[in-house]
């Protein structure tokens, strides 16, 4: 989403508001400024832009005019007191504006007012009607809606009658308001006052202060809206930068936490890490922190994420503050990751700079700009800990908060790499951003048995089920992978200790199977012996049974014999056989 598209609609909205009675505004087209002022400068009123020498006042005024003419169809007049038309044209050409053409097209009129104190000799009453006439003529010539006076203070050097001059200035501002032009007046910063000549007393509608500060050899430009009558506005000091496309103000502090969230998940580039994060990876648009001490593989993990991003056909911006792009590519090649094709395809952009290159605000501004231009889906910052060297800790923190905010609002997944320095506790970042982080992956080294191995675990991951286990993080020439660590009665083992432990376990297992086999054979033998015994007993039993059968047979035979003998005897004695038989 480019600014030029976003702003006209905003401007339209502002005009709609104007019809309902709010203050109408003239969009400046200066990147970021219209966000802070909620639409632009007060339309039809003068605005004072003040600041010390070299802070960008003239450029501010010029950009307001040029963008007005090119983007918003509002023609303008530039009344220069310090630079000639040729100089101005030369200056803005470097910003991609063709002032000569705009003048030829009657979109812009430039009038250079030369005031040479040595040539002016005052003899009595006068007024500045000549200035009014020139301005009026220029406004009429192009039908100007916008006017720049850069800088009126030159008048004070040329004319000695201050009382008269001030009366004329008052008249000038009234006149400008009557004309209904949106005016930008620049003024040099004074001691204790906003401008050296107190121009602020004439311009009371909107005052913008530009500042250029150098702290510890690092310069930062800042902009502040001192006042804006009849409108709310951002009150902070906003950093801004000037580059080949003009002024960029950074409306950074949208700390309202109302960005849209995505439920889409994107791969971390390491399958098992995806697995640890509920099987799907990070949320799109979330902020991911990878922290760890030196040499724990933070950059490798970040590079894999970049690789996965590009493999999906998305763009990744890799901000390297420690390595040059070539070095990064070479080093990643050594672990089986070739980033070159992505760079060639334009999906990966590696931007390397030293954090001390410019102030912290400037870094932010530069990142802003790169994100706006490149529109990446993923931004990797490797590492964030270096920022504290570009500013104080709290500044670095504030900057990161703004950065994370900005990226979140754009649905850009941010991967921040943080180098934890030796003495610090693990669960703390040098730059205190931990509470802003959605997913935090901790890499740490595990020292054991003369080895240093890498461990990885997910410290937190908002809004998803994630693994609570430590994994061993292996970096080999084929790439990175995660292995289960050995967790047993002897503690957590990694590296060769883990391998040795695994071997030991294998041997023990073998021994156990052998023992079992032995026992089984034993059992079989016992069974055979017992079965033999059972057979012997059965034979014995059968013998006994036979014997007892034979004995009972003999008994019965004997009984029979006895009974027969008794009957025979009875017959012999002549017993009543019949009776017995009847019975």
């Amino acid at each position: 989403m480019g600014k030029p598209e976003a702003l006209p609609s905003r401007a339209k909205a502002q005009r709609g508001e104007a019809q309902r009675g709010a203050l109408p505004k003239a969009p400046t087209g200066i990147s970021g400024l219209d966000e802070i002022t909620l639409g632009g400068l007060p339309c039809g009123r003068p605005t004072l832009v003040c600041g010390a020498a070299g802070c960008g006042k003239t450029l501010f005024a010029m950009e307001f005019l040029l963008r007005g003419a090119e983007q918003y169809g509002e023609t303008g007049v530039f009344m220069a007191f310090e630079e000639t038309e040729q100089d101005l044209a030369k200056n803005v050409r470097s910003l991609g504006f063709d002032l000569d053409k705009l003048i030829a097209d009657r979109k812009i009129a430039v009038d250079y007012v030369r005031i040479e104190p040595a040539e002016i000799h005052e003899t009595g009453e006068y007024d500045l009607e000549g200035l009014f006439l020139r301005l009026g003529m220029a406004i009429e010539a192009v039908g100007a809606k916008r006017v720049v006076l850069d800088t009126l203070e030159a008048l004070f050097g040329g004319f000695s009658n201050q009382a008269l001059l001030r009366a004329e200035l008052r008249r000038l501002f009234r006149w400008l308001k009557d004309k209904g032009v949106t005016a930008v007046i620049t003024g040099e910063r004074g001691e204790g006052t906003l401008t050296r000549q107190g121009l602020e007393e004439y311009v009371s509608d909107c005052v913008i202060l530009l500042d250029h500060r150098v702290t510890e050899q690092v310069s930062t430009r800042r902009l502040r809206i001192v006042k804006y009558r009849g409108s709310t506005h951002g009150t902070n000091e906003y950093p801004f930068l000037i580059d080949e496309s003009g002024i960029h103000v950074l409306p950074l502090t949208s700390l309202r936490l109302n960005h849209a969230v995505s439920t889409e998940r994107i791969s971390t580039g390491v399958p098992r890490l995806d697995g640890m994060l509920g099987g799907e990876g990070y949320y799109r648009g979330s902020s991911v922190l990878i922290s760890g001490t030196s040499g724990t593989g933070k950059t490798s993990l970040a590079a894999y994420f970049a690789n996965a991003t590009c493999a999906r056909g998305e763009r990744c911006l890799y901000l390297a503050f420690e390595e040059s792009p070539a070095q990064l590519v070479r080093n990643m090649k050594s672990i089986g990751l070739d980033l070159n094709p992505w760079i060639k395809k334009g999906l990966l952009r590696v931007e390397a700079s030293r954090p001390t290159l410019h102030g912290i605000e400037m870094h932010l501004a530069v990142i802003h700009k790169m994100v706006n231009e490149f529109e990446p889906q993923v931004v990797v910052i490797d590492p964030i800990s270096n920022f504290s060297s570009a500013g104080s800790g709290s500044e670095a923190e504030a900057m990161l908060v703004r950065l994370i905010d900005f990226l979140k609002s754009r649905q850009v997944t941010a991967m921040l790499v943080n180098l934890t320095s030796g003495g610090n506790t693990w669960e703390r970042t040098d730059v205190g951003v931990s509470s802003l982080i959605d997913t935090w992956i901790l890499l740490r080294d595990i020292e054991l048995a003369g080895e240093r191995n890498r461990g990885l675990y997910v410290l937190k991951s908002r809004g998803m089920k994630h693994s609570n286990q430590i994994r061993e993080f292996l970096i080999t020439s084929e790439g990175v992978s995660l292995e289960d660590v050995y967790v047993g009665p002897e503690g957590v083992l990694t590296g060769s200790m883990r391998a040795a432990q695994e071997d030991r376990e294998k041997a023990a297992a073998l021994l156990r199977t052998q023992e079992i086999e032995h026992k089984q054979r034993d059992l079989a033998r016992k069974r055979a012996a017992l079965e033999a015994q059972i057979a012997a007993l059965r034979t014995e039993f059968e013998a006994v049974e036979d014997e007892s059968k034979r004995v009972s047979e003999q008994d019965r035979t004997r009984e029979q014999q006895l009974s027969n003998d008794r009957s025979a005897a009875a017959l012999g004695r002549g017993a009543d056989a019949a009776k017995r038989n009847r019975k």
Partner: protein, 103 residues
Amino acid sequence: MNTPKNGSPHDAEKWELRLYTAGQTPKSLAAIKNLKRVCEEHFAGRYQIEIVDLLKNPRLAKDDQIVAIPTLVRKLPEPVRKIIGDLSDTERTLVGLQLRPQS
């Protein structure tokens, strides 16, 4: 520049003066009156006054770099001098025209 004692280093020279005004304002009228008086006193017959009304010809304000009204420009003799105001202060006018040394 040599420092003339009383009035006549440019005796032989021709004076070409141009007075820029904006309409018939009291200041403009005063300036015209004062200028004519000074000229008659100091270089009668050797001067030429052109009065430019910028209301009628505003383009000249830009071309001739006029900011204050009224402005008197001494075009000749060289160098060009600019004197602003209604010329009511005769002493300062003469200094401005370099007929008097600066105090």
